[in-house]
Symmetry: C2
Subunit: 337 residues, 2 copies
């Protein structure tokens, strides 16, 4: 009885900036590393943990059993340290992952990843065996999670139709339509969109499945493969920047044609653009988008207002864990993603 009342109190206190907000566990499950945190929002990330030179516990390559044993152990330690229990957990995961709750057996499982040890891995089960089946666990893709973080606290605040693109080792995007994250048959895999080739570009693309898809042309991996060194080390006049920003322009023009977003947010390490610099990187992308659309879609956001239309992520590297906090909060309060 008292527990029920306490649970209701937790729900009642889920108001931003409230002093006694619930404590959430956040897991940003990336293809390279897991980033874990406890807290409730960007201004309340109590403790955040990720692999460092001295701390190797959260490396995705170790496989689900080892990683989740470490994650669970770490959450328990944090609860002890803070003297409070975690009320819900949010997971923003690499994919493809089954997000269909009506699939009793495969909901929460990684499906066709090239990471063999993760194929079929259940992301919810290890948490449930430790914390019990009653603990709410919110789950979405890494990019939808980051999109949710930007929507709740960042560059998409108050904008119900937008796209969040991340360009790092890989390339992906999440989207919201009318205030709800885009799902469907599986979940979007926008990085694998096919694009026109720029005449004279000799680079075959780096995607093992599609060669020159968006990810195969513009991810950090693609840039490294094209230029022989990582994006941050390229000279600002390296032709790789010309090709990369033009292909990004094609892809964003396509997203505008398909989704008609009210804003496009770009995160991930490549956006910092090393010696070219983030400002010039964004200027080029905006120019390329306008060139690709050729004036067909009429809106001030695509003309004079384009500097406020294609913008960098506001939460930076915290978008993922903050989105996971929000996934936890939504699950706790019974809201669907």
């Amino acid at each position: 009885m008292w527990m029920q009342f306490k649970d209701r109190l937790n729900v009642m206190t889920m108001i931003p900036n409230h002093a006694e907000e619930a404590l959430f566990g956040a897991i940003e499950a990336g293809g390279t590393k897991f980033v874990c945190a406890v807290g409730s929002r960007p201004s309340d990330i109590r403790i955040k943990e990720q692999p460092t030179e001295n701390r190797k516990e959260f490396n995705t390559a170790d496989g689900p059993e080892i990683v989740f044993a470490n994650v669970v152990k770490w959450f328990r330690e944090m609860e002890k340290k803070l003297g409070r229990n975690i009320s819900a957990i949010g997971i923003a995961s690499f994919g493809p992952v089954d997000l269909n709750e009506s699939n009793a057996l495969s909901y929460g499982c990684i499906t066709s990843t090239p990471k063999l040890s993760w194929r079929g891995a259940n992301l919810l089960e290890p948490l449930r065996s430790e914390f019990g089946h009653a603990l709410p666990i919110g789950l979405d893709t890494d990019v939808n999670g980051a999109a949710l973080g930007e929507f709740t606290w960042g560059a998409a605040k108050g904008i119900e139709d937008f796209v969040y693109v991340t360009i790092g080792t890989g390339l992906g995007a999440g989207a919201m339509s009318r205030g709800r994250l885009l799902h469907g048959l599986v979940h979007p895999e926008m990085g694998h969109m096919l694009l026109p080739r720029i005449p004279g570009d000799p680079f075959p693309g780096s995607c093992t499945k599609h060669g020159a898809c968006w990810e195969g042309l513009c991810s950090g991996t693609a840039i490294q493969s094209r230029a022989g060194k990582p994006a941050q080390d390229l000279e600002s006049d390296d032709s790789a920047w010309i090709f990369t920003t033009r292909y990004i322009g094609y892809a964003l023009a396509n997203l505008i044609c398909v989704l008609s977003p009210r804003r496009i947010i770009i995160g991930g390490s490549v956006r910092k653009a090393g010696k070219l610099g983030q400002d010039r990187f964004f200027e080029r992308i905006r120019d390329e988008v306008q060139a690709a659309l050729a004036g067909y879609v009429v809106s001030d956001s695509l003309a004079g207002g384009i500097r406020d239309y294609i913008v960098p992520a506001a939460l930076g590297d915290d978008a993922g864990v903050c989105g996971a906090f929000e996934l936890a909060r939504m699950k706790l309060s019974g809201l669907a993603g």
Copy 2:
């Protein structure tokens, strides 16, 4: 008082198959012709009118003043003929059209069309001056309207995330995500998506803005321009079919990556595919989609189940007016599209 009660009765009777359903006006405003109808649903299209050799009143080329004068006159005649008043009107219109109700001045106006006489034309005003400002008028794009028709009565019944593609003189697509039609900054213009070129294809594309975008490569106009004759007259082994179906495969693969629809529905005259035939046309498209995705997105719908995944429109040429009925009904009952 009695009127209010009658209005409530109208709302209360909006149950499919109810004998005394409200009478709606439907306008499918196409780039070539207007198709008008009165009725309530596919099995209750009381009267449908469109330009014929003897009847020239609804030709879009006549411009908004003439066309709308004829439309209004026709609706009044139908009311008299049926002895009933129209309760609401739905418009599924060519675009680009301003669908943002918070834009007091431009809501319901055609924006950047190449049809000069229609630029800035207000689609709602002529109806309001005849029927009064109290008459509910639902408005969306032609493709969203057709998508809504297929969702309510056709091939998307019960499927809340899907894409409806129409390939006719032009090429466009509408989509629903989680049960709501996709809107945003403006509205989708999926036909203008940029696609990879097939090596060795000499056709430059027919889009005046983008050359070889999806519409520029695959619309009826593009096929005619490529092959020198209309799609329905092409031999089944004409290379135009090979190019066209492959480009459609690229485009649908991109839509799958971006939207993750649970079904893709194809309408429009080109799908009938003349001597190639609709069945073979769809078989080829399904094969091309699978080839383009290269197994990356894992779902039975994209493997063994693909025949139920990429399907022809069920309402055929009535999808647009039926969608307009539903737009009218939703507006009358206070539902947003």
